[in-house]
């Protein structure tokens, strides 16, 4: 098998006495949509933060396309083709949608130490921004301040921002969080399109969405990967049923 796009090896991260990431190893092949699921507190966000560079692991390694990125700062990983969306929407609220996306394109189009020319008149950046906005279906909202957009629209802008950097790998941290039913369906459709173009690591609570989208699923419980495989295998896996879906049994039977 060829070198995986993302390889995580024996990653460990502790918070005091708690092991939030416990010897996690996983591979994401190029072109794959790899979902990470797990109950609340399983350490999904901790894991993602180590992939994006917002948190340093205590041991283990992360490599992207064969290159060790374990201790690279976030902005350098981004330059290597790793883009992320935030679980809690994190945008420039006092900028327009187009500005938000154009800045992401700008980060990957030459130096930003240019002091004189009007950046909003750079055709290349504006076109890239509009293309990305169009991709998520928000081209008509390009000139609206993000603070005036709805929650659902902001989730879409998050995606457009990530896309504008032309990433090799997209890390999506709960893109459906807080979306209504229709919005969620729209997002699933959009991700189905995007996965043809870019490899994706998806952290998500919405189980129907995960099983509809993923090529492979890794299940995280108490910081450990207890199972990894295609959706059908995960559905059948006894450990997963017990550890993950089991919680819901407890809830439904005794709640």
């Amino acid at each position: 098998m060829a070198e995986p796009l993302l390889r995580v090896e024996k990653l460990v991260r502790r918070f005091g006495g708690i092991i939030a990431t416990d010897n996690v190893s996983l591979d994401v092949a190029a072109g794959e949509l790899h979902a990470i699921i797990g109950p609340n507190g399983a350490g999904k966000t901790t894991l993602i933060s180590q992939l994006t560079g917002h948190l340093a692991p205590h041991s283990g390694s992360v490599s992207l396309a064969g290159r060790d990125i374990t201790y690279l700062p976030a902005y350098r990983r981004c330059a290597l083709g790793l883009a992320r969306s935030f679980q809690i929407t994190s945008l420039l609220l006092d900028f327009t949608a187009a500005d938000n996306v154009a800045l992401a394109a700008q980060a990957h189009a030459g130096t930003s130490f240019r002091f004189f020319a009007d950046a909003r008149k750079e055709k290349g950046l504006r076109d890239a921004a509009h293309a990305a906005l169009d991709r998520v279906g928000l081209a008509h909202r390009a000139d609206v301040l993000v603070s005036k957009l709805s929650h659902g629209e902001r989730r879409q802008i998050e995606l457009a921002v990530a896309l504008a950097s032309k990433p090799k790998l997209l890390l999506l941290d709960e893109p459906m969080a807080g979306l209504g039913v229709t919005e969620s369906q729209g997002m699933v459709k959009l991700l189905q399109e995007l996965r043809k173009e870019v490899s994706i690591v998806l952290v998500e609570h919405d189980m129907p969405a995960v099983f509809a989208l993923a090529d492979r699923i890794s299940v995280l419980v108490y910081g450990r990967v207890i199972a990894s495989g295609d959706p059908a295998a995960i559905r059948q896996n006894e450990d997963v049923k017990r550890a993950y879906l089991g919680d819901q049994h407890v809830v439904t039977h005794h709640g």
Binding site: A74, S90, L103, A104, S112, R114, F115, D118
Partner: protein, 314 residues
């Protein structure tokens, strides 16, 4: 669009005043107006430079008066040592300010928020005490500049009117530069960092180096104001670097409207005119000024520029 036009109209009137009043003063021989306006324009330049880092960059530098002193002392010390040429004095003033900003910025930008405010303040106070200790250059008492910067006959700084228009040209030039900068690639990154630093890091911008460059540009511009100020008063002393002066500059920026091009100019005009006229009425003028500023800060979000915008809309 209407909201824009009200603040634009007021800005235009203010600028027309800054351009035309000195002519009146020149013709009528009323020197007082010219002296006051020169001071206003120079401090407006300092406030505009502070606005670049504070209003657009979102970094509360509480030590901007240090650059006034550094620019001023560069002129004063060179003059004392017999170097009277403005062609040397001004570049040295700018370079010294830039170097100081580079060092202070590199250290201060490791911190954020209140710590950034305190550390920039602490460095400015250090600069103040260093200046007080310069025995050769007057120490506490300050340094008289016996001859204004000499620009080899091109412009005579001893001529009040010419000097005023030089200051005004510097102010407008700096505002033009700031206008270009804030709309450039660099300016968008700096403003993006003000808005959401984590997001900017995530899309690939290393925050600190952009903020440091912005800090240096801002400090250099303020150094220019310092060099002009020393020429205006024919004198430079540690007092120009004292923390209350940094506070005055901050008040001008906030009063006029942070993050707007002409807000700091508006703030400087209003602040210094109020100070001038209130201090003629009573020696307790600060008792009136204080509450006035409080009212603007409490009820006039966005400063004078913000209020003008709302008047237009209302």
């Amino acid at each position: 669009m209407k909201s824009l036009s009200v603040s634009k109209a007021v800005t235009a009137v203010m600028l027309a005043g800054l351009v035309l009043l000195p002519l009146y003063s020149h013709l009528s021989g009323n020197i007082f107006i010219l002296t006051l306006l020169t001071r206003i324009v120079i401090l407006a330049l300092a406030a505009a430079s502070l606005n670049l880092i504070m209003g657009f960059g979102g970094l509360m530098s509480f030590g901007h008066a240090a650059y006034l002193g550094i620019g001023g002392y560069a002129v004063g010390m060179l003059a004392q040592e017999g170097v009277g040429s403005g062609w040397i004095q001004f570049p040295v003033a700018l370079a010294a300010s830039a170097v100081y900003a580079l060092v202070i910025g590199a250290l201060s930008l490791r911190t954020r928020g209140v710590y950034f405010i305190m550390i920039t303040l602490a460095f400015a106070q250090m600069a103040y005490y260093v200046a007080s200790g310069l025995a050769r250059y007057g120490g506490d008492d300050g340094l008289t500049v016996y001859k204004r910067s000499d620009f080899s006959g091109l412009i005579d700084l001893s001529n009040r009117t010419q000097f005023y228009y030089l200051c005004l040209a510097c102010l407008l030039g700096v505002i033009f530069l700031i206008w270009r900068i804030v709309n450039s690639r660099f300016g968008l990154v700096v403003q993006g960092l003000r808005s959401n630093e984590q997001r900017m890091q995530a899309i690939g911008f290393p925050a600190k180096r952009y903020q440091l460059v912005c800090f240096v540009i801002s400090g250099t511009m303020c150094g220019l104001a310092g060099a002009l100020l020393a020429n205006n008063t024919d004198f430079v002393s540690p007092a120009v670097m004292y923390w209350t002066r940094s506070g005055d500059l901050m008040v001008m920026v906030i009063l006029g409207g942070m993050g707007t091009l002409f807000g700091p100019v508006m703030g400087a005009v209003v602040f210094l005119l109020l100070e001038e006229f209130l201090s003629q009425i009573t020696e307790y003028w600060a008792l009136i000024m204080g509450p006035l500023l409080l009212l603007v800060v409490l009820f006039g979000r966005g400063g004078i520029m913000g209020m003008l915008g709302r008047v237009g809309r209302g």
